[in-house]
């Protein structure tokens, strides 16, 4: 009996240790920032040492940032000719092709979920809302960078047009044509340079760069800059989207936080 008990004990101890390692990332965030760690760690922290590294990166970078600090804006003369077209350039989605054939006249952006007044915004209405133009550098995690001028509506204005968020709202999930989806926390959503861009270099957004509307979330790598936007949903948890890690990129093993 005694022997049995001791073997039980070791088993429990092992599980605890494994649990501690699994929760290492969350623990790191807690140690760095105290209880309010939402903006210092990704919605789902990866297991093991990788989660600790992820959290250290995100927590240190976020603690160096404030939300009125803008990213560097470049001289419009520095705009890159032949801005690269990366990943999907023309979603095969039937709905998308139908909208494209009609010059996106019928495109509407549903803003749903934990907002006080869900709305659908047409492209022409979006263009009538508050506008921001910024010349910024696009940095791809693969290594390339290019400069473009983007014109669009601040994401915050769009959320406000839907009556603002409910108290339990934590993340904004954006869905795109072609099956892409990505989640953003309120720290990025409320940043003045986070815009839904419909213009690029003074013209309508080209097809290859995400027509009719793409996201610019300037403090992140390219893989967070979602193209071909379809709908916006404000959520309290990311677990119901894809594999539940908060975006298609983190679902496939990239870090959710792409400040790099």
């Amino acid at each position: 009996m005694k022997k049995f008990q001791s073997s039980l004990k070791t088993k429990r101890a092992r599980l605890t240790r494994r649990e501690i390692i699994r929760r290492g990332g969350a623990l790191t965030a807690f140690l760095i920032t105290g209880c309010d760690s939402q903006f210092y760690k990704p919605p789902v922290v990866r297991g093991g040492l990788m989660g600790i590294a992820d959290t250290l990166t995100m927590a240190t970078q976020r603690s160096l940032m404030s939300n009125d600090q803008l990213v560097q804006e470049h001289d419009p003369r520095e705009v890159t000719q032949n801005f690269p077209v990366w990943n999907q350039s023309n979603p095969e989605d039937e709905d998308y092709q139908r909208l494209k054939a009609n010059g996106f006249e019928d495109w509407v952006l549903p803003v749903t979920g934990l907002v006080n007044n869900p709305v659908s915004i047409s492209l022409s209405d979006l263009k009538k809302m508050s506008r921001r133009t910024q010349t910024t550098m696009h940095i791809c995690e693969q290594g390339w960078s290019a400069i473009a001028t983007w014109t669009g509506t601040p994401l915050l204005s769009v959320i406000q047009a839907a009556g603002g968020i409910k108290p339990e709202a934590k993340y904004v999930m954006i869905n795109a044509f072609g099956g892409w989806y990505e989640g953003y926390d309120m720290f990025d959503v409320s940043h003045p340079q986070t815009i839904l861009a419909y213009g690029m270099n003074g013209k309508d957004l080209p097809a290859g760069n995400g027509a009719p509307v793409r996201l610019r979330v300037e403090r992140h790598c390219g893989y967070k800059q979602l193209k071909f936007i379809k709908s916006i949903e404000v959520v309290s948890t990311v677990e119901h989207h894809g594999r539940g890690t908060g975006g298609i990129n983190s679902d496939f093993g990239f870090h959710w936080y792409a400040g790099a």
Partner: protein, 240 residues
């Protein structure tokens, strides 16, 4: 086991031994994962922007490895994850090393060359001595010679911080946190290119380091770096 006449001296302190081997591990992973990331985009540019089709200052294609082949050899997802993990190991280990040693006077005496050593004549003498692989005679001498000291100071206080800073300058978050840092390099692509060049310098240092270890007796040197104690006469005979 050791006899008194074996002339045992403590050569490496406990902290430098621990930090050395953690550094060695993180250097291996950082280099390997760095290569994996680079292979996925095997071109280098100068200035702010650069992409496939933009005039490059270095193309792996020119060296017989096509873009497609390089892409297949590399694995940037694995590379990125491990590069960040071991960057943190490297940084934390480096800080521990500096804090642990920075308070000790003998650390500065050991690592930094004295003014009297810095004469051209002395450096030339030591260089000729080293190039003939006469380091075997040198292994019993306590402390580093002037060239070793200069190399260690260069790697520890110039190359390592430069690697970290040029790494940070590539991150989009730093376009908000500190765009001055990126401007200091003259652009994001320049920072990336210098990061790669600097890593090649570290590889050269690493190769010379290994050659020296083997030339002066790998068994003795590795044991000294593990146990900290340098055992004189007997072990030297074994190596020879």
């Amino acid at each position: 086991m050791l006899k008194k006449q074996d002339n045992v001296t403590v050569r490496h302190s406990l902290n430098s031994r621990i930090c050395h081997w953690i550094m060695a591990l993180s250097f291996f992973y950082l280099l390997y994962s760095g290569v994996m990331i680079f292979l996925h985009f095997p071109e280098l540019y100068w200035g702010k922007v650069g992409f496939q089709g933009y005039p490059a200052i270095f193309k792996l294609e020119d060296w017989g490895i096509s873009w497609e082949l390089a892409e297949r050899l590399g694995d940037r997802r694995w590379g990125r994850n491990y590069h960040y993990l071991f960057a943190w190991v490297f940084v934390i280990n480096g800080l521990v090393y500096l804090l642990w040693n920075g308070v000790r006077k003998d650390f500065y005496l050991k690592i930094f060359p004295r003014f009297s050593e810095l004469s051209f004549k002395n450096i030339k003498r030591v260089f000729i001595f080293q190039i003939r692989f006469s380091v075997k005679n040198d292994v019993s001498m306590p402390g580093y010679n002037v060239i070793q000291k200069l190399c260690y100071v260069f790697v520890l206080f110039i190359l390592f911080p430069f690697m970290i800073i040029s790494g940070l300058a590539q991150m989009p978050a730093f376009t908000a946190i500190s765009p001055e840092l990126i401007d200091l390099f003259g652009g994001r692509q320049t920072a990336r290119t210098l990061h790669v060049i600097c890593s090649l310098l570290l590889v050269v240092f690493f190769i010379v380091h290994l050659v020296q270890v083997f030339a002066s007796g790998a068994v003795t040197q590795v044991r000294t770096m593990v146990t900290g104690s340098y055992v004189g006469s007997k072990s030297e005979m074994k190596v020879q």
